[in-house]
């Protein structure tokens, strides 16, 4: 296995865009190419994360469409769908190909358009029995929240603080969909979606794109003045245990363990983290799943300020999915973009001082009472 480096990153502002998927994807690719200082002809393979274009835009082959706009043609192009982990799975596929010696430079783009009329839940397909029988994402995560509250005494206020923190961070991020801070009361008093999750406990539907350029050590040395190492990458799927405990995800703990071992790090080495905070409860469970605190301590972890900017390990400095937005296929790539900026010291007002080790976690899709895909990536500034 060879070392792999992130040599360039770029993204669009997340939010509502009256532009096509290819226009958004193009902007992100162009920004990443410029950031790396490379040309389309230098790219040997392209990976595109997208989840819902076939369902929402009636479009397939998004990768070919987007990369062609950026002048990337002729090379292998791979379209990746893995629910909310589509973008991060595309990152991993590119990472594996470079690590395995197949290519020396590859581009990854994540792009999505999901903005719909207000109050419309994301339609991720109604082909599965659970979906036909009323399953919605806020409902599933409502159960996780209820069970976490019941088992560990996690409170509604602690859940709300995740949204407050991430909106505070989003206000410092020019790429975020929401730029206004919130109060705990506003989160708790917003419309109930699925008991106990309120509207402001849920991430929005968003449009946007993000892109990164990955390269081998040799190539990175030649072109990458600001490269950071993608030191660990893990992807797991669920085990779909029928009577599983709802308060944690074994597949996340497994992915974290694999990625940390690969990168030779310990949870206490981590300086900054981006997680899949699609709902407030998710972030609390991810503190535990990633080993930032022990099981059941997630509520206290945010109460004590550890995950806030200025805390011992800031989580979602970008604003996370809750405030930065969640263009599904783009989110996993955008996490890597944010963490590259953090490790390079270019994160502006939301900069985590002296960040050296960063972790990105995202998971997606529901299957049974489990999820389908979870990725954990470790990035290191050597």
């Amino acid at each position: 296995m060879r070392n792999v480096f992130v040599i360039g990153v770029g993204m669009t502002v997340f939010g509502k865009h009256e532009r096509s998927l290819r226009s958004l994807g193009y902007e992100a690719c162009l920004n990443a190419l410029k950031d790396a200082g490379v040309k389309p002809a230098d790219i040997e393979a392209g990976y595109c994360g997208n989840c819902l274009a076939p369902a929402l835009q009636g479009e397939t082959g998004v990768g070919q469409h987007v990369f062609w706009e950026a002048g990337i043609k002729g090379i292998p192009i791979i379209n990746v769908e893995n629910a909310c982990a589509s973008g991060s799975t595309a990152v991993r596929e590119a990472w594996m190909a470079i690590s395995g010696g197949f290519y020396d430079m590859a581009i990854v783009v994540g792009v999505e358009k999901t903005v719909m009329p207000k109050g419309t839940p994301l339609n991720v397909g109604t082909g599965e029995l659970e979906a036909k029988l009323g399953e919605v994402f806020p409902g599933y995560f409502a159960f996780v929240a209820q069970k976490h509250m019941e088992k560990y005494g996690t409170t509604r206020e602690q859940l709300a603080k995740v949204s407050v923190k991430n909106h505070e961070n989003g206000a410092l991020n020019p790429y975020a969909q929401f730029n206004k801070p919130l109060t705990v009361e506003q989160v708790l008093n917003s419309a109930m979606i699925a008991e106990p999750l309120t509207l402001l406990s849920c991430c929005p539907n968003s449009d946007g794109a993000a892109a990164i350029i990955l390269a081998s050590a040799e190539k990175a040395k030649k072109v990458g003045k600001k490269s950071v190492r993608l030191a660990g990458s893990a992807l797991t799927s669920g085990t779909y245990e029928n009577q599983k405990d709802f308060t944690g995800w074994e597949m996340e703990q497994r992915a974290a363990k694999q990625a940390y071992e690969m990168a030779s790090i310990d949870p206490k080495d981590i300086n900054v983290v981006e997680v899949h905070d699609a709902f407030t409860i998710c972030e609390i469970v991810h503190y535990e799943g990633l080993g930032l605190c022990s099981a059941g301590e997630g509520g206290r972890f945010i109460d004590e300020g550890h995950s806030w900017l200025g805390g011992k390990v800031p989580v979602c400095p970008s604003g996370g999915l809750l405030a930065k937005g969640h263009p599904v296929g783009a989110s996993g790539v955008a996490q890597i973009v944010e963490l590259a900026w953090q490790l390079r010291g270019e994160a502006g007002k939301r900069q985590v001082p002296k960040a050296r080790v960063a972790v990105a976690q995202i998971m997606g899709g529901a299957k049974g009472s489990d999820t389908r895909a979870c990725t954990v990536h470790v990035m290191i500034k050597d």
Binding site: K132, A191, I193
Partner: protein, 163 residues
């Protein structure tokens, strides 16, 4: 289910065979249960039992993922009694066309040692708290774009049987 969906039960024909105007109802998915429920029979969901490890699955599947033995699965009628494991009230329309508010969650079936995703009858979460004993009901729960009733299953608290 809301009270309005109960109204629909009354005004809908129980069964219309495929004809010029199509059918009046459609099962949410094939092979989940019998409908209309035969006279004298209790409504039941159809699961699969692995004859090697005794594990029960719902919906039915071909192969036990643990035993991996072809032909080792047999159909099993699941017990109609369950206990609520989790419940929530959804205030947004479901993409599948169920109108809010509606309650759903998970039901544990102690006899079969299986947890089932299910809609609940009623919208008062106080009557649907975890631990509540429930029983299976098979019937319409939504209407599709063609105006057909969608026949599915849901659970209702046992004590509300005679209400």
């Amino acid at each position: 289910m809301s009270d309005s969906s109960k109204e629909e039960v009354r005004i809908t024909p129980t069964y219309t065979p495929i004809g010029i105007n199509g059918v009046s109802w459609v099962m949410v998915e094939a092979n989940l249960f019998e409908y209309p429920v035969p006279k004298g029979k209790k409504p039941a969901l159809f699961g699969s039992l692995c004859t090697k490890c005794d594990r029960v699955f719902f919906p039915q599947r071909e192969l036990c993922p643990d035993c991996f033995e072809e032909g080792g699965m047999v159909m099993k009628r699941l017990d109609s009694k369950g206990v609520i494991y989790a419940s929530t009230l959804v205030q947004i329309p479901s993409p599948a066309g169920i109108k809010p508010p509606y309650a759903y969650g998970y039901v544990d079936i102690p006899v079969d040692k299986i947890r089932i995703h299910a809609l609940f009858d009623g919208t008062d979460l106080a009557t649907l708290a975890p631990g509540t004993e429930v029983e299976l009901v098979i019937g319409p729960f939504a209407v599709n774009k063609q105006g057909q009733n969608i026949i599915g299953y849901k659970y209702r608290p046992v004590q509300s049987r005679r209400v």
